[in-house]
């Protein structure tokens, strides 16, 4: 694949026709999940999940705890590779390439599909600036001008620039929890991933900081496709365009119950279990 084609896939879909239902806001997809299952030591944790992730939109994974949201999310950038007992089956395509197919090195998958974790985890020994450019350095970027430009752009996008521009060399540990999480978002954005995975990014934050991150997610759409796990249905309703609702089956494996535009999922779900969940009757 040439560089041009890979970049343009982020704008226009070059892959086979997608399977997004004929919803009015149908757009091309950047990732396609086909019959994705994840098992730990042979015990299924997520089973046969298929849906498309629309480019430039926010897709939320919702469901009660234990429904496999985080497990599914971590399959999208091969984070399960670090767990020896984990096995991912099915196919996950990123811009036309099967990320488990062997053609794209896991390291390169992760540089194109970034991740933000539950708890802010800036590198404690690095300055704010070094944190932001750490991903670029891990990827072999040494061009100082590019590092600087990417760092500033990422910090602006993460709504942190104004707060840290005068102290980029300060330790990241001097920031508040909310600032640290925005720093982690900036750190992920600096690598210019095509997709950003967020695993309950506000669960460790206070309401103020949560609000800022939620606003931020909406503003990131032009730049990156967001997939976010949240246990907070109001948050999913506020910030996502599409929602995937997962539920734990009898054997404790997570299954996809319903997938569709968020407003449809919340106002007129097709499955009774979805309706029960979004109306707070269980979970």
């Amino acid at each position: 694949m040439t560089d041009e084609s890979r970049v343009t896939t982020a704008q226009t879909d070059m892959t086979a026709p997608t399977t997004v239902e004929s919803s009015p806001d149908a757009v091309s997809s950047i990732m396609q999940l086909h019959e994705v299952s994840v098992a730990f030591s042979g015990r299924p944790a997520v089973r046969n999940v298929s849906f498309d992730i629309a480019i430039g939109q926010v897709t939320a994974l919702i469901g009660p705890s234990g429904s496999g949201k985080t497990t599914l999310l971590r399959a999208l950038n091969r984070m399960h590779d670090t767990v020896r007992t984990a096995k991912v089956t099915g196919a996950i395509h990123l811009a036309g390439i099967d990320i488990y197919g062997g053609t794209l090195h896991p390291t390169l998958v992760r540089s194109r599909v970034g991740m933000v974790f539950q708890r802010p985890n800036p590198f404690p020994t690095m300055s704010i600036y070094d944190n932001v450019v750490s991903g670029l350095r891990f990827n072999g970027v040494r061009n100082k001008a590019l590092l600087k430009e990417a760092a500033e752009s990422a910090l602006i996008a993460a709504a942190l620039w104004d707060e840290v521009r005068d102290r980029l060399n300060a330790s990241a540990a001097t920031l508040s929890g909310g600032q640290q999480q925005r720093l982690c978002i900036a750190r992920a954005l600096a690598v210019e991933p095509e997709v950003l995975l967020m695993d309950e990014p506000t669960s460790a934050l206070d309401p103020q900081a949560t609000r800022r991150i939620e606003d931020l997610v909406g503003e990131l759409k032009d730049r990156v496709t967001v997939v976010i796990v949240t246990h907070n249905m109001q948050q999913a309703a506020r910030i996502s365009d599409r929602c995937a609702f997962l539920l734990m089956a009898e054997d404790r494996a997570g299954e996809l119950i319903e997938f569709g535009p968020t407003n449809q999922l919340f106002s007129s779900p097709t499955d009774q279990r979805t309706e029960d969940y979004v109306n707070g009757r269980f979970g």
Partner: protein, 300 residues
């Protein structure tokens, strides 16, 4: 490329992905090199360990027999002697040493874990220094304090020396273990009306138990193998003695005293005793691992 220049983000993304892909080979080689180096270092560090164990088994195993474990030494030239007196002696000396080191170590560790005062950091510093004091120095200290004042060699003076070796290990391992107990638990107990002593006895120490047991076993393993603190305190004995106020045999002493003799059968006894010490230390280390795993599981 004209499409790309329209959008700075896309341009940057292209450049970053190009760099990441171009440098992947170099990064992979670098990573493989370091992983290989790590593995090689592991192997190299295993060589002396395996060599010591293998050589000790080779030289020491022929000495083992029923008599070896059940008889006191016989005079040179008469076959059938054993190290029963040294085994008993080691148990008595190390037992007395533990009797002092356990309560003292635990209480000091409790104090240290609950205090960040200047006194505490002073004690912590002194403890670290004590753990670095050469064991021969501790031996001569025990000699000066107990042997010269009581005017005879005694096992109890040896216990004192061994206890001093065990103490810093007990203290630091226990403190570390107690510190891992979440403050929430301490506060939960306090909020129920418990006194500090009750919190320590019913909540903190039981929760820290796996670490305490590990520290204890490591201290025993270290103390049981020391010969220097016994050289001029317990001094050693050819006979089975059980009075802590007189001279007593001990396994490390037997290794030293027999090892420097010219007679092959005495040297063999030294190797056999060395092998027994090695086995004891090995068993203690392994059981400390098992203790941690078991006790940790019960708690969950």
């Amino acid at each position: 490329m004209s499409v790309l220049t329209l959008d700075p983000i896309l341009t940057r993304r292209a450049e970053i992905q190009r760099t990441a892909e171009a440098s992947l080979g170099r990064r992979q080689r670098h990573s493989r090199l370091l992983v290989g180096l790590t593995g090689a270092c592991v192997l190299v560090s295993l060589v002396p360990l395996v060599a010591v164990i293998a050589y000790t088994i080779e030289r020491g195993a022929p000495a083992w027999s029923v008599d070896f474990f059940s008889h006191a030494p016989t005079p040179e030239g008469i076959p059938g002697g054993g190290i029963w007196n040294s085994i008993v002696g080691s148990f008595i000396i190390d037992g007395i040493a533990l009797g002092g080191a356990i309560p003292l170590g635990l209480l000091v560790a409790l104090f240290l874990a609950n205090s960040n005062s200047r006194v505490a950091s002073g004690i912590r510093f002194v403890t670290d220094v004590l753990s670095g004091v050469p064991s021969i120095t501790i031996g001569i200290f025990a000699y000066g304090i107990l042997v010269t004042t009581l005017h005879h060699f005694s096992a109890i003076a040896g216990s004192f020396g061994v206890g001093l070796i065990m103490l810093p290990i007990m203290i630091r391992a226990s403190e570390t273990s107690i510190r891992t107990v979440p403050t929430d638990l301490h506060e939960a107990a306090l909020s129920l009306g418990a006194k500090n002593a009750a919190v320590a006895r019913r909540v903190t120490l039981p929760t820290a138990l796996p670490g305490l047991v590990t520290g204890l076993l490591l201290a025993v393993a270290r103390g049981a193998g020391e010969s220097a603190p016994l050289l001029f305190t317990a001094i050693g004995s050819q006979y089975l003695t059980t009075s802590p106020f007189g001279p007593m045999a001990a396994m490390p002493l037997t290794v030293y005293l027999n090892g420097i003799q010219a007679y092959p059968d005495l040297q063999q006894i030294a190797w056999g005793t060395g092998l027994l010490l090695l086995c004891i230390v090995l068993v203690l280390s392994v059981s400390s691992r098992i203790a941690v795993a078991r006790l940790g599981r019960i708690r969950r």
